[in-house]
């Protein structure tokens, strides 16, 4: 076909007429011949022409058809030529890369690392933020939250009064003691309303889900297992479905097993049990439950509409609460947002930051590679000039160079994917527990597509400048290239200098981010919660509710336990607390204050934290009594109800008075608690906790019926030794009570800052990579500059410049470039780091120390990187340099 046409015929195309004209000519020729024939037969001219056309048929239609056929043919030919050209470019690119293996390997390794890091982070971004949740029509699932109490009574009322939800349910965390023939273990899972589990639309791989009747009291003794838990504890035995197991001392029937991919709300949920809504127990139905409401929007309803309805309906529900008044603003700030967004609201900014950082690293790598390519292109000036002289088009040249860079990038990207597989595995194991367990993260089709696209864009990005540079040099007069080409070198140098400045700016920005995060982490690590954490060992004790319903029995158990443990050698003090601070949030509740807020018009104030403690707890964690007295054994059931409050609480409600002797109460009808002592403010939710309104209630007078407590001891024993002792002591009292989470308080603190540590490590790693890349870039540019200016150096030295002057000249230039870049980087950082907000602690986003350290660091690095080229410059022999003019 056409590609076999001899060359000279191809050139004839240059003067060929347009294809449409050819078609017209061909048809006209036929019509004229026919007309001539008719004329010869004796018709007059007009009739002859008409007859010819008539005999032909639909002239316009045929012309159109011919044009269509011809243009299709032309398109195919062009496409074939283009592909052939591309194949040629590709072969040429491979050849040219093979000729400089060091450059090619360096480039591809750099790309592999940079693109691989991007792929790793994107895998997480994709799996956690972008992929829709694996439930039926996940866009309809919403979380309803904030500004409500989160109780079962509210749920029932909302269900009745709103039309926006086809299903509305709730779930909360639940911890159970599993005790079959093996030792009792504590397992974390979820209590959930049956309709909510069903509406997620995922079928179990064995058995069934709970039906609606399961949420009524009495039928609640069923449980659905997660896939991982089923494998772990029951070895994947399908026979477990339908069997009874012992949960919290009672018998539960295993109803089903969920598939491997099901993880609601996170992978750490190992079972699901139905919530039992006991309408008769008012305190449970209306207490703050830590429940999360989730619903499915009815057909055609948007979240905005559901939000409007919720906000309209909730205020009317204020008086439904029989035990306390949530206040006038009840329901005002309620939110309805897509469930996916709400599940990861804490991790989202961190992930986005990581993604941005890793893209910056890739950008910096691109700049370095662009500089390298520019140097190569300049070295091949002559080759390009010759090509231009022989008629190779500039566009073709650009295309060929871009093919080279994109090929390198694709190979680097493929290698990067391999690295990313390992990277994802490492990151998933190193990431703080809540995030990594949300879903399985892997390199799926989306991620691979992203990598391919990113590789191509990268190749184009670092190839475009060198390609155009090559094209422009090929276009200019070829004679110049056979000379010294000093002029071309000048513009090249300007370009590379600008690139280096940009590179340093980005690297400095990254370094500042890393610095701020590091300072945050340091502040967190050194933050004291306000109580003693050294030599403090904790253990979670979870008596099975079935056998420990009686309050007195529970109190007796713990009293005996504390006596036993307190008697051990090395134990200085022992106590119990209902929830361990810093290990998780410490909930509070609304609070009555005697003599204040009693007119019923204002919303009840809330205590941020309410803790149930035994007398020994305060001494175990070293919380002193500021004023008044601590709890004693006399503070038990039947005695006057008492409480300890934090200093912040005392100052808030009785700023001018002594809080001791004043009374506060639970937000429902119950006896007043008399304040007997004041303790200092300590951090309770986490090390970042700034809410300090806290109430301590004696363990023996607690209101909750939950028997779970955390044992806290101050002892010089090691954790394993203490774990053994505690287990022995507990099991000597009752074998069925699980002991879990035995760890030192310092360990608790350390895991609470795990996310900060992880982020800091990663970003610091990126910043280090950026630093290395920046240093390499500066070194490269300086080397090149020095090699180009040997003549100039020679002249200077001949005119009396000392080696020291030359050295200073080169190093000075490097330092100036770095300083310029650092300044721009700081300016960029000033804008960008504001978004870090929630991730920082104890340091402002515009911290001057971090900014200046980053700047100085990069200037020093630039000086170091310029030193070697500078030394080389001073060694050049002036006489020889002049001769090379």
């Amino acid at each position: 076909m056409s590609s076999d046409e001899p060359i000279w015929r191809r050139y004839r195309d240059l003067i060929r007429r347009r294809p449409a004209d050819d078609v017209a000519d061909e048809v006209r020729h036929h019509l004229e011949m026919r007309r001539d024939e008719a004329l010869r037969a004796g018709l007059d001219p007009k009739h002859a022409a008409d007859a010819a056309r008539e005999r032909f048929g639909d002239v316009a239609g045929v012309v159109a058809e011919l044009n269509a056929i011809d243009s299709a043919r032309e398109r195919h030919r062009v496409r074939r030529d283009w592909l052939a050209g591309f194949r040629q470019d590709f072969r040429f690119a491979i050849r040219s890369l093979r000729r400089s293996p060091v450059f090619a390997v360096t480039a591809m390794l750099t790309l592999a690392i940079a693109i691989g890091a991007n792929t790793t982070i994107f895998s997480f971004v994709n799996a956690l933020l972008l992929e829709p949740l694996p439930y039926r029509r996940p866009q309809e699932l919403v979380s309803v939250g904030s500004s409500i109490v989160g109780s079962a009574g509210e749920l029932a009322a909302l269900r009745e009064r709103t039309r926006s939800f086809s299903t509305l349910g709730m779930y909360r965390q639940r911890s159970i003691a599993l005790s079959d023939d093996r030792e009792a273990t504590q397992v974390e899972g979820i209590e959930i309303t049956p309709s909510l589990l069903a509406t997620l639309g995922v079928d179990p791989i064995a058995g069934t889900l709970f039906g609606g009747e399961a949420s009524q009291r009495g039928n609640g003794a069923v449980i659905v297992l997660s896939h991982a838990f089923w494998l772990e504890r029951y070895g994947g035995d399908r026979g477990i479905v339908g069997r009874q197991i012992t949960v919290d001392g009672s018998s539960y029937r295993v109803l089903g097993v969920m598939p491997r991919s099901f993880a609601f709300p996170t992978l750490s949920a190992r079972f699901w049990v139905p919530i039992t809504i006991d309408g008769t127990d008012i305190t449970r139905t209306w207490a703050i439950g830590g429940n999360r409401f989730v619903g499915r929007l009815a057909a055609g309803v948007t979240p905005a509409r559901a939000l409007a309805e919720a906000r309209a309906v909730l205020p009317g529900m204020r008086r439904l609460n029989p035990i306390w008044d949530p206040g006038e603003r009840y329901g005002d700030e309620t939110t309805v947002e897509p469930m996916q967004r709400q599940l990861l609201s804490a991790e989202r900014p961190a992930l986005q930051l990581l993604f941005a950082c890793v893209l910056v690293v890739l950008l910096i790598a691109c700049v370095n590679l662009a500089n390298l390519m520019l140097a190569r292109v300049t070295a091949r000036d002559r080759e390009f000039a010759v090509r231009a002289a022989l008629g190779g088009g500039r566009a073709r040249l650009v295309r060929q160079l871009l093919t080279e860079t994109v090929t390198m990038a694709l190979v680097g990207g493929a290698l990067g994917c391999g690295l990313a597989v390992a990277g994802v595995r490492w990151a998933a194991s190193a990431m703080p527990s809540t995030v990594a367990r949300t879903t399985h993260v892997e390199l799926d089709a989306h991620v691979l597509l992203f990598t391919a696209g990113l590789s191509i864009v990268t190749g184009l990005a670092f190839g475009i400048l060198p390609a155009f540079r090559a094209a422009s040099s090929a276009g200019s007069s070829s004679a110049a290239h056979f000379g010294r080409g000093a002029g071309a070198g000048g513009s090249h140098q300007r370009l590379t200098s600008m690139l280096v400045v940009g590179e340093v700016a980005l690297a400095v920005m990254l370094a500042i981010t890393a610095g701020l995060l590091a300072r945050s982490f340091n502040a967190l690590r050194n933050a004291s919660p306000g109580f003693v954490t050294d030599q403090v060992i904790t253990a979670r004790i979870t008596p099975p509710p079935a056998s420990y319903r009686d309050s007195a029995r529970v109190t007796a158990l713990y009293t005996m336990l504390m006596t036993r443990i307190g008697g051990l050698p090395g134990v200085a003090s022992v106590g119990v607390v209902n929830r361990l601070p810093i290990a998780g949030p410490i909930y509070g509740m609304g609070m009555r204050v005697q003599g204040q807020f009693e007119d019923g018009r204002q919303r009840l104030p809330s205590a941020d934290h309410v803790l149930t403690v035994s007398p020994g707890y305060l001494s175990a964690v070293g919380i002193p009594i500021v004023r008044g007295r601590s709890f004693t054994d006399a503070d038990r059931i039947g005695a006057q109800p008492v409480a300890l409050v934090s200093r912040a609480l005392a100052e808030r409600f009785w700023p001018k008075d002594d809080a001791i002797g004043k009374r506060i109460g639970y937000p429902y009808e119950s006896p007043w608690l008399t304040i007997v002592g004041i303790v200092p403010d300590v951090r309770l939710d986490s090390l970042r906790d700034t809410t300090a309104i806290a109430v301590y209630v004696p363990f023996a007078q607690r209101a909750s019926r939950s028997a779970e407590m955390t044992l806290v001891t101050r002892t010089n024993a090691t954790v394993p030794a203490m774990a053994r002792e505690i287990r022995e002591a507990v099991h000597s009292l009752d074998r069925t009570i699980p002991v879990s989470d035995v760890r030192s308080m310092n360990e608790v603190l350390s895991s609470s800052v795990a996310q900060s540590r992880f982020m800091t490590t990663l970003v610091a790693g990126f910043a280090l990579a950026a630093l290395l890349l920046g240093a390499t870039g500066i070194y490269g540019v300086m080397s090149y500059a020095v090699s180009r200016r040997t003549h100039e150096m020679g002249v200077r030295m001949a005119l009396g410049a000392t080696p020291g002057n030359i050295f200073g000249l080169v190093v000075g230039r490097g330092a100036v470039l770095a300083a310029l870049g650092a300044l721009i980087g700081c300016a960029l950082a000033l804008g960008a780091t504001r978004t870090l907000g929630s991730l920082l602690f104890g340091v402002s986003a515009t911290d001057p120390l971090t900014f200046s350290v980053a700047t100085v660091l990069f200037v020093l690095v630039a000086i170091a990187a310029s030193a070697a080229p500078a030394r080389r410059a001073t060694r050049s022999d002036p006489a020889r340099a002049l001769r090379e003019a």
Partner: protein, 115 residues
């Protein structure tokens, strides 16, 4: 034209190939030759001749060059390629077999056996 037979579409390419086997011609002379040789019995839609020619050029059966026709006008001349020649041989073979088979059925005197 009395008793003109409707032209079977697929056969046009075969006729063009045959016409060109005598040597290169332009579109008009191909039309005229077919008309003359078939004694004007075949009613050829002249409009379908040229698309057929262009398609055959695309398929590589014919090669086109521009030249001057007998009345000194610019005309597009078509000539058979090697592929075209083998195509002609194959298709005319098929055509004769088809015509023979149809003829056999039409000439049959025995009634078909019904089962």
């Amino acid at each position: 034209m009395p008793n003109a037979v409707e032209f079977r579409h697929g056969a046009i390419e075969l006729l063009i190939l045959k016409t060109l086997s005598w040597g290169p011609q332009h579109g008009f002379s191909i039309a005229r030759w077919i008309q003359d040789t078939a004694d004007d019995v075949l009613r050829l839609e002249e409009g379908s001749l040229y698309p057929a020619l262009h398609r055959m050029e695309d398929k590589g059966w014919v090669k086109a060059t521009w030249g001057t026709s007998e009345n000194n006008r610019r005309a597009k001349f078509y000539e058979l390629t090697a592929t075209g020649r083998s195509q002609l041989a194959e298709e005319s073979r098929d055509w004769w077999r088809y015509a023979e088979a149809v003829g056999k059925v039409l000439k049959s005197t025995a009634k078909p056996v019904t089962t």
